[in-house]
């Protein structure tokens, strides 16, 4: 009997020590996970912090005091920048360890080690495009800046100090679910985080759908449907300078001899990636103080992308948000200045078709000569499976991202600005901005910034405002790089880098304000050709609000930042309605649309019918563009549809499916209304509400629904200033009033300071964010001046 019982015991203990798969879902080892002493219960935080915690480190010379306020925002008081960054690393690790780890792994192509075969394709993409080499290149760049490396090393030491104090029972719950453990942090991982931001913002593989669409409809139609600039253009830099004439047209070399690219592109971060920022001078505000506002729109996640903090050293006192895994404050303010960022979505990635001489030998043609590609073998470890080996050729242009192994029909190499070696250290820019006192410091700080290109906005207590389209942009022939290029000609290479002095910028313009919202950077007269994926509406809406009010206040700025007014709807709807014949039953709905203020508020059903209508109208109008499975194509922008609607008899409105008749805009608008209306009336009255139809979901980094907040009832869309889509939105709302005696911030982000789903601080800002609240923030020069201090402190002490 004993033997049976012992065998049973061993079987039970082994079973409880291993993860089990139930119904396709892997359940962690139950013994490890469920016991209340070392299992997940350790991550169930009470939220009642102890009075203080002491940690000792031989890395420190002076003591660091960290005081937390009611929202769990840390205020770091350190005697040097290095020690402030040390504390920042410690806090990031303490609060966001898993987030840092998973982000660094994703960019390094090492997700499958943790998550198994499910993420193999993501790892293959990361390895093929050679993110690890891009990390190494950036590491080499940083090494040429010992002062910055010292700060980065201090940050890394702070992370590792926390890791040393972390027993397995206190590992973040995600590690326990996965049966994994954290790794030592390195500078390379910090660089991986910076590269992850670049990949999110400017790893633009639009060449693919652009080439497919060009192949599908031909150059003439392409130029007609996809012009580089809209008629109603309002760029970031509105100051037209005298430039020599430049021709903005298609590059005939770039679309010859291609077929559809049957690709497997990574998920497109999409049109939801974007941001708003603006700054106004004192003359336009009621209290005569400059005001700066910024809200970066990113894919929202839990834990949040941002970690808020305030840092104090003898050199600076700065408040803002940081990215876990990265030293410094990315967006914020100090007692002299405030700064913010929006993405400058200029295309800095080009694709090249490789002409192989002998692919097995890795030889290809370049300017008629044979050239040898380097074969790289990437070994990707997979949890519970044998490792996968990926063979990739590296060419003159860069890695062959897509080849036959990825089911593409053609071998396409990529050249991406963010992956190339640079002589600057971009960390210097953020560090410089944190310490800036005036416009001069801001300009000096920006000199080191190259990727991802940003519209960096600035305002100071001295009543200076500025905006710079800052980044490293390739010099191209007009039209070059919109489509996959012939990789056998070096003449298709970039012809240099746009000199920094020629980057678009505005300083203290006459109109009294500067702004950006991912729109075109310049008027077409700019001497350097560029293309990209720009937004047309948010910037113009912000411009309208700023232009029409000369007594702006923080409260008005909050209202602008959360405005659901949709300029796209305001411009398109009246034109569509004009083309419509209305039946009696539809009249009340059309009247509502006619009298609507174009606000995409959650309770309104009108945005739902509007979006359905525009979508159907584009579908019917642009039937020239084929719809083929697994081939990514472009759809023209709504502003182009509107421009075409000016000529109702344009042949574009003639439907290909009805060769016997010739349709005009009127028939298309009518037919699209009929379809949209039918879909709309199929919804229940509640389902028609915009907040329900386009509800927002903020997913956990691993996509665990129980750790996510889904189906949130929100207003706005990608074209409203309050740019909330189903997955993206304002990831940080910040408004800073720069008074002469005090600088005050009004801030919020949709998440919480803790990355632990078992903490009350995991998503505690989210409901306030949804209801439009802001938290007031002031700079506290000493620990005793912290407003709403909860008297919870961490002391990092020299050993």
């Amino acid at each position: 009997m004993f033997v049976i019982c012992m065998a049973l015991s061993i079987a039970l203990l082994i079973t409880l020590s291993r993860p089990v798969s139930i119904g396709g879902r892997t359940i962690p080892a139950l013994g490890h996970f469920l016991n209340p002493f070392t299992g997940f219960w350790n991550q169930a935080e009470s939220g009642k912090a102890g009075s203080h915690e002491n940690y000792y480190s031989s890395d420190l010379v002076d003591s660091i005091q960290i005081e937390f306020d009611k929202r769990m925002i840390p205020h770091i008081f350190a005697q040097s920048s290095a020690e402030a960054f040390y504390a920042q690393g410690f806090l990031h690790a303490k609060n966001r360890l898993f987030q840092m780890d998973i982000t660094a792994r994703a960019i390094s192509g090492r997700l499958s080690e943790l998550l198994g075969e499910e993420t193999l394709n993501r790892d293959i993409f990361a390895r093929r495009i050679n993110f690890p080499q891009a990390i190494e290149n950036k590491y080499q760049s940083w090494q040429r800046h010992p002062d910055m490396m010292a700060l980065a090393e201090a940050y890394v030491n702070g992370v590792n100090h926390y890791l040393k104090t972390l027993p397995p029972k206190n590992y973040p719950v995600e590690y326990k679910l996965l049966g994994a453990q954290p790794e030592k942090w390195t500078i390379q991982k910090t660089i991986a985080i910076t590269l992850s931001l670049a990949a999110t913002l400017n790893l633009n593989l639009q060449d693919y759908p652009q080439t497919n669409t060009m192949w599908d409809i031909g150059p003439k139609m392409y130029e007609k449907l996809f012009p580089l600039f809209p008629d109603s253009l309002l760029p970031v830099d509105i100051e037209k300078e005298t430039y020599p004439d430049s021709v903005q047209t298609l590059d005939p070399q770039s679309y010859q001899g291609f077929n559809y690219l049957k690709d497997q592109l990574p998920p497109d971060p999409g049109p939801g990636i974007g941001s708003n920022n603006w700054a106004v001078r004192a003359a336009l505000t009621k209290d005569s103080f400059p005001i700066l506002a910024n809200d970066p729109h990113l894919r929202l996640s839990l834990p949040s992308i941002w970690y808020e903090l305030q840092m104090h050293t003898p050199e600076f006192t700065t408040h803002g948000v940081s990215v876990p895994g990265m030293p410094s404050i990315v967006i914020g303010f100090n007692k002299h200045i405030a700064w913010g960022l929006t993405n400058a979505p200029i295309d800095v990635l080009d694709t090249y078709k490789i002409k192989w001489k002998d692919k097995n030998q890795g030889t290809y043609l370049l300017d008629g000569k044979e050239k040898k590609a380097r074969l790289r073998k990437e070994i990707i470890k997979i949890k519970g499976e044998p490792p996968h080996t990926e063979e990739v050729y590296d060419t003159y242009w860069g890695p062959v991202l897509f080849d036959n192994s990825t089911q593409a029909r053609q071998d396409i190499a990529v050249k991406w600005m963010s992956a190339l070696p640079h002589d600057k250290c971009d960390m210097r820019t953020l560090y410089g901005l944190m310490r800036s006192k005036d416009l001069f410091d801001y300009q000096a700080a920006l000199e080191s910034f190259y990727a991802p290109a940003q519209n960096i906005i600035f305002a100071s207590t001295q009543d200076s405002i500025a905006i710079t389209v800052q980044g490293k942009f390739p010099v191209k022939r007009p039209g070059q790089g919109r489509f996959v290029l012939d990789g056998s000609l070096t003449s298709n290479d970039w012809q240099g880098i746009i000199p920094m002095d020629d980057l678009p910028r505005m300083i203290n313009p006459e109109r009294g304000y500067v702004l950006s919202a991912n729109e075109w950077s310049t008027y077409p007269e700019y001497p350097y050709y560029y293309s990209g994926r720009f937004d047309q509406y948010r910037g113009r809406a912000i411009d309208y609000f700023l232009r029409s009010d000369h007594s702006l206040t923080v409260e008005k700025m909050k209202a602008i930042q959360q405005s659901n007014f949709n300029l796209k709807a305001a411009e398109v709807l009246p034109v569509l309605i004009d083309h419509l014949s209305v039946t009696t039953s539809e009249k009340p709905l059309i009247d509502s649309l006619r009298n609507w203020d174009y606000y995409y508020d959650p309770d309104s059903p009108l945005p739902t019918i509007t979006e359905l209508w525009i979508e159907q109208c584009k579908k019917l109008t642009f039937d020239e563009i084929s719809s083929i499975d697994s081939i990514s194509m472009l759809t023209p922008n709504t502003w182009r549809l509107l421009e075409l609607l000016q000529n109702p008899y344009d042949p574009i409105f003639d439907r290909l499916s009805t060769p016997e008749s010739r349709e005009s805009a009127r028939e298309i608008v009518q037919a699209s209304w009929d379809v949209a209306h039918r879909i709309y009336t199929g919804f229940s009255p509640t389902e028609r509400h915009w907040g329900r139809y386009a509800s927002l979901s903020i997913d956990h980094l691993l996509g665990i629904p129980e750790f996510s907040r889904q189906n949130l009832y929100t207003g706005g869309n990608g074209n409203t200033i309050n740019a909330i889509t189903r997955t993206n939105g304002p990831s940080w709302r910040m408004i800073v009033e720069l008074g002469k005696d005090s600088v005050t911030g009004h801030v919020i982000y949709p998440g919480g300071q803790s990355g632990n789903p078992g903490s009350p601080y995991y998503d505690n800002f989210l409901d306030d964010w949804l209801s439009g609240k802001y938290y007031e923030v002031s700079l506290a020069p000493t620990p005793t001046k912290i407003k709403q201090s909860i008297h919870y402190s961490i002391y990092l002490l020299p050993q």
Binding site: S9, H32, L34, F37, T38, Q43, P705, E706, S759
Partner: protein, 121 residues
């Protein structure tokens, strides 16, 4: 040894050590105690092993869950297909009880088989 005393020893022992040792100690402690001081009846030992560890795990989980307002247990209960956080508390307790009970039963049988060997000698 008095059963009540054994229960107290099991509860106190597992509580004191549980925070610093592996969870399998919850199996080992009843196993060792019952191996050396078993009851004649298997059911009594089983009950002692089960109840003691059940109570320890349940109480610890309850205290933590209460302090956390069931934030984490509610989230994780859904992953395990359970109705709510308190169910996960009970589930944790039962799992502990099961481990403790099995440890006690194994100790009981080992004691008996060792005694039989001694008797045969």
């Amino acid at each position: 040894m008095n059963n009540l005393l054994k229960l107290v020893l099991l509860i106190c022992g597992s509580w004191l050590f549980a925070f610093n040792v592996d969870w399998r100690f919850s199996y080992l402690l009843p196993f060792i105690l019952i191996l050396f001081v078993p009851h004649k009846k298997l059911l009594v030992d089983l009950t002692l092993g089960f109840i003691s560890i059940f109570l320890v795990w349940l109480t610890a989980a309850l205290i933590i869950d209460g302090g956390n307002n069931s934030i984490l247990s509610t989230r994780l209960a859904k992953i395990f297909g359970l109705a709510n956080g308190p169910t996960l508390v009970v589930f944790s307790g039962i799992l502990g009880g099961f481990i403790g009970g099995l440890g006690a039963v194994t100790g009981h049988f080992l004691h008996n088989s060792l005694q039989k060997t001694n008797d045969n000698d």
